[in-house]
Structures are given as C-alpha cells and as structure tokens.
C-alpha cells in the first residue's frame, strides 16, 4: 500500500517525499510496538508521531521542525484511517444509515468508521475554502492533539484555535447531513 499523498496546500517542494517517509516510519513503528505490546498498554497516536519524529530527526530531512513534521504525519494518519475504513466497506455501511439515525450517529460516535470516507470528502471541500480548517481537523481529530497542542503546531492562540475548531466541526456536521 503506497500512500497517494498530495497535499495541494503545502507549498514546500519535498512534501510528497516527506509524506511517504513519514508514512512508512509510522507503519514500521506501530508494528514494532504491537509486537512488544503487553496487555493493558496502549499506544497513543500522538506518542507514535513523536517517536517517529525522534527517529527521523537527524539532519537533511525534508521538514523544518517538529511542528511541520506533525502536520505531515497528521495528513498521513488521515490517509491511513480513511483508506482502511474504505477497504472495510465503510461507504456501503454509511449509505445504509437512514436520515433519522444519521444525527445520532454523528453525535454519538456510533458508526464512526463508516463515517470516515464521507468525512474525508467533506473535509476536502472545506480545505478548498480554507486550508487551515483542514489542518485543524487533521490534528484534532485524526491525531488526537489537544487544543493547546494543536494551537502550538499551527502557531495561533488556543482561544482562536478553539473557535476555528468549533467552526470546522459545525461546517462538517452540517455537510454530513446532521444540520
């Protein structure tokens, strides 16, 4: 599986190279961890990203700093999770959910995986309007960063980030049919 990562909104020339590199490292690390895993120990996505960064951190790599790296990794994770959901027939399941239970599904996190492909498409439309919105969702939702961490990566105040995250959620919620 090779990620077809094209980040239209990333103006750095080596973005594709970086994405493939990060993608492979994430997968390699995750497998390594799962093999060593003991019951009760879970691997957090954020820890995984940090670990991958430390491992790839030596010079000459196509990213500026850890913030930039995290943004690339976040896009990789979105790709991975959405591809995985697609491979497991998420679209068909999503199409089978009727309008009545749709709002419930969106709010209650039921059918979360089934929602991913549709969410991904909506997010792509949102990015066309405002690339920053896409990054916020990737970091908050697909990597699980906190408000503060996300704000730090994007270089804005937590208060602003909180409001823009609220906007992204409202927009996606409306777009997915819950509004």
């Amino acid at each position: 599986m090779t990620p077809a990562v094209t980040s239209s909104n990333d103006d750095r020339p080596d973005a594709n190279v970086a994405a493939v590199l990060v993608y492979n490292e994430l997968r390699r690390l995750a497998r390594l961890y799962m093999r060593r895993e003991r019951p009760g120990q879970t691997l957090q996505a954020t820890a995984l990203v940090h670990e991958a960064y430390l491992r790839l951190a030596d010079g000459g790599k196509p990213w500026v700093d850890e913030r930039h790296f995290v943004a690339i990794a976040a896009r990789s994770m979105r790709q991975i999770l959405v591809d995985h959901a697609r491979a497991r027939g998420a679209e068909k399941r999503w199409a089978g959910i009727d309008r009545v239970s749709l709002t419930e599904s969106l709010v209650g996190a039921a059918n979360e995986e089934a929602m991913l492909p549709a969410l991904d498409e909506a997010l792509t439309r949102l990015e066309a309007l405002d690339p920053e919105q896409g990054k916020i969702v990737e970091l908050r939702f697909f990597v699980g960063l906190s408000i503060e961490e996300t704000a730090d990566v994007l270089g804005m105040s937590p208060a602003t980030l909180k409001r823009r995250w609220a906007l992204a959620r409202a927009w996606l919620f409306k777009e997915l049919g819950g509004g």
């Binding site: 799962m34 895993e37 999770l81 699980g144 959620r169 509004g179």
Partner: protein
C-alpha cells in the same frame, strides 16, 4: 462560496458565538446583511454548532496503531529466502498462508507467515522453532512435510510441502454422507498418519477437518503439525492461564485439554473420534451454537453413539469412534497406533464404554455420603461432650468447624460439577488440600472422642466413634481417589 467569503464568515462566526440568541438576527443583518450567502451560511452553521454536541471525538486516533500494525501480508513477487510468493491461499488464526515458488528446486511450496502476535517475544519464537524442528522430523505420506523455517525481521515463516485438494471440512459441508467404505478408508489413513507422529512422541493438538486435506489422488494429509498454538480461539476457552499455553479448537479439544491439564497423544485420539464422527454423520457430536457451548458439551455431555447416526457403519469402526471420544483419557486408545490395530484387526471388540455420567453419579453419591458422615460425626461428638466434659468439648468444636468447612467445600464441588463443568477441575484441585485437612481433623478428634467415651465407660459409643473415624479415613484415603479418578481421571496427588 469563495474562499474570501468563507474567511469573512469565519471571522463573523468567531464573534457571533458571543452574541445573545435573542439579538442574533439583528446582529446577522447588521454584520452580514449585504451578502445573503454569507448570512445564510453563518446562520446555518451557528444552528449546526448548537446541535453538533460531541461530534468528532478524537477516538479515531486511538485506533490508528491497530490499523497501522494490521498485517498487510505478503504480496505476489515478495521474496522470502529462496522462495517467491505467488499468491495468498488462505488465512486463519495462525497467520496467512501463501503459495510460493521455490526458485532453487523449482517446486511449489506453501509458506505460512505466522501472525505477529504469535512471534512477539523471543521465548515464543524459540518455542515455535523447536516445534517446527520436531515436526520437520516427521516423514509420512499422510503428513504434510515441513521443509524449512525462514526468519525475517522477527517474523517467522514455515515453508512446507504444498498440498492441493479439498479439506475434510469442504467434503463435510458440501457432499452427501460418505459411503461406509470411504469412511473406513479415511479413518485408516488418518490413524496411520497420526500413529507415525505418535510413535515419534509428537502430538498435533489441533486436529480438525480444516487441517485435513485430501489430494486429488485420494491421499489424506494432516496439515499444521506441531503448530497448535494459542490464539486460534480468541479466549473462547476457559482457564487459559499462562500466556502461550498450548490449546486447540473448541469442539475438537479433549476435556483435559479444555481444562488446561497436560495433554498427550490421547487428546489427538479424542479429536480423531470427533473428526470421524462428524465426517461419517455430517453432524458434530457436541453441536452447539457457540464455541463455548461446544466446549461445555465436550466436557460434560456424552455424544449420541455414532451407530445411531450411521447404522450402516461397520460395528468395529463405530466402536473405535465411540471409544476415541471417551471423556476420561484412560478409557480411550492410548495412541493412534492402537486405533490402527483396532481398525486393521477389525474383529477385536472394544470394551463397553462406561459413560462418564454413570461414574460421575458414583462420585456424587460419595460426596453426599461424606457430608452425611460429617453430620453424624458432629452429632455424636455433641453427645459425648454432654457425657464427659473437658477435652471432648474442644474435640466437638474441632469436628464442628472441620465438618462445616468440609461440607461446604463438598457442596460447592457438587455445585460446580453440575453447573460449572469448565471450572470444575480447577475448583477440585483448589479444595483438595482443605478437604484433606478437614477430614484429618475429624478423624483424629473422633478417635480421641472414642478414647474419652471408653474412659467414661461407654464402650458402645466408643466403638461407634472409632468405627466412624475409620470409615471417614477409608473414604478419604481409598474410596475418594478411586471415584474421583474414575469420574474425572485425576490421580490423587
């Protein structure tokens, strides 16, 4: 909407959050009244925001490591050692199986890539290596030959003979009931192959129709020798206490295997019986809707005799199948070699199998009589205490406590034997020492009471007390080990 409009709307959204609901319409008209599109979108978004609740929790991120470590498997063209993967031919609890091409020898091989969770730590890998090595020593036309063990990045690959054909499972689920002659031939082939392994002290431990392949030429082959590892059944089996303990597939596992006790060739004999039963009749002897239900039946319920299902089967074969499925290992054939002999001989009738229920009934009676004797012992001591004060009071106390504890544990065992067969072996082991101590206290105190009664000039009572002590001691030391062993095949340790 254009990006510019969106940006304007975003900034307004950020301010609108602080506007009181009652003033919102006026506020929207004032700030976005000039652009209908922005105004309507903004209003819709504010409404959506109030409904969105916990929409987009970050739980999806926690699933990422699992998704990432999902074994993507080998792709056609991948190379393992000197083997080139051609395609995937199966996957199961143990891992993925591929058809591959041996470049050096120009033949087809099967490669089993063991699932990552099976090879997580070095001790597990070492055990797998050992098992594979042992199984590689088997050379029999009825056993799929293991050629090599390849390792790469901590992953283990078992390279074996490629066997084409149909599994016994395919035959069971598709075809009509096989002719008795075919059943006999299948039983003979299976027993002969299994016997050659047993002669080398190797047991399979996971014999099932899925692991038995019939080649187009009609040769039956046992697959996956020496690979019966845990994980194949996802916690369906009770008492998997140590990680990496060897287990099999519920429905084909012998009762002692299900109870987590040590297994030997007789567990394979049990599985042989179940497989042949299912093959001959098309019905599983311990059929149940769930794996757990099957396991419970395998432990506690006798299968209907195969002759009832397949009257046309040769009686000697039917007897072999029934005897193979006995609950108590001692009542089965000791190894597949004995099955071969029984099938070849054809004449020697197997001893009448005694059903487990019959023996268990004796065990139950024994427990009930032990409890009754406790009550008699306690009442007798009460009486002796009335006649002769002093030491007998302490004796009564001891007997009363020991009888209460012992009676409680025996009652608990009776309960477990009926209600919780899966946990029964464990409870039995656990309560063994307590029962020995309780009985010893009762016997000694009773004997002492006998002496006291004798001194108090009650020779008859003394005799009864001593006799009771002897009976309880006899029951504990001689009778109980016998009934327990007969019913559950556990020697008194």
């Amino acid at each position: 909407m254009t990006p510019t409009q969106f940006r304007r709307m975003r900034d307004l959204f950020e301010q609108a959050v602080d506007v009181a609901p009652s003033e919102l319409t006026a506020w929207l008209d004032l700030h976005a009244g000039d652009d209908r599109e922005v105004r309507d979108e903004l209003e819709a978004l504010l409404r959506a925001q109030s409904q969105a609740g916990s929409f987009l929790p970050a739980d999806v991120a926690s699933r990422l490591p699992d998704v990432l470590s999902d074994d993507p498997g080998l792709q056609p063209g991948d190379v393992i050692g000197s083997y080139v993967i051609e395609r995937e031919i199966g996957r199961g609890g143990m891992g993925h199986v591929y058809l591959a091409d041996d470049r050096d020898l120009g033949r087809k091989v099967a490669i089993k890539a063991l699932a990552p969770r099976l090879v997580r730590d070095e001790s597990q890998r070492e055990r797998l290596r050992r098992e594979a090595r042992a199984a590689a020593g088997l050379a029999h036309p009825g056993i799929c030959t293991i050629y090599r063990l390849e390792e790469r990045d901590g992953d283990l690959f078992i390279v074996s003979e490629y066997v084409g054909g149909r599994t016994l499972r395919d035959e069971i689920s598709s075809g009509p009931k096989p002719e008795p002659g075919v059943v006999l031939d299948t039983a003979r082939q299976l027993a002969a192959a299994l016997a050659s392994a047993h002669a080398n002290n190797i047991t399979h431990r996971d014999l099932k129709p899925e692991n038995l392949m019939r080649t187009p030429k009609g040769q039956l082959k046992i697959l996956d020798f020496g690979l019966a590892l845990d994980g194949a059944l996802d916690r369906a089996v009770p008492r998997v206490t140590q990680p990496g303990m060897l287990v099999g597939t519920p429905g084909y596992m012998a009762p002692e295997q299900l109870n987590g006790e040590p297994v030997d060739a007789r567990a394979d004999v049990f599985a042989f019986g179940v497989v042949m039963y299912e093959y001959a009749s098309g019905r599983h002897p311990f059929d149940a809707p769930s794996a757990l239900g099957m396991a419970a039946h395998a432990i506690s319920k006798d299968a209907a005799p195969i002759a009832e299902q397949c009257p046309a089967l040769p009686p000697s074969l039917a007897a072999v199948i029934d005897r193979s499925m006995q609950k108590v290992p001692d009542r089965r054939f000791r190894s597949a070699s004995e099955i071969v002999a029984a099938l070849e001989g054809g004449g020697a009738p197997a001893p009448r199998p005694v059903s487990r229920d019959e023996v268990a009934a004796w065990w139950r009676r024994h427990q009930l009589s032990a409890i009754a004797l406790y009550i008699v012992a306690a009442s007798l001591s009460w009486q002796i205490k009335e006649w002769a004060h002093g030491l007998s009071e302490m004796n009564f106390l001891l007997i009363a406590v020991a009888a209460t504890v012992g009676g409680m544990f025996r009652g608990f065992l009776l309960f477990n034997e009926r209600i919780n067969p899966a946990g029964f072996a464990f409870e039995r082991r656990r309560s063994k020492r307590i029962l020995v101590v309780a009985d010893a206290i009762i016997v000694i105190a009773l004997a002492a009471n006998g002496v006291i009664a004798f001194v108090a000039r009650r020779p008859l009572v003394a005799a009864i007390a001593i006799a009771l002590a002897v009976v309880i001691a006899f029951l504990k030391l001689v009778a109980e080990p016998t009934t327990t062993d007969a019913a559950f095949s556990e020697r008194s340790r």
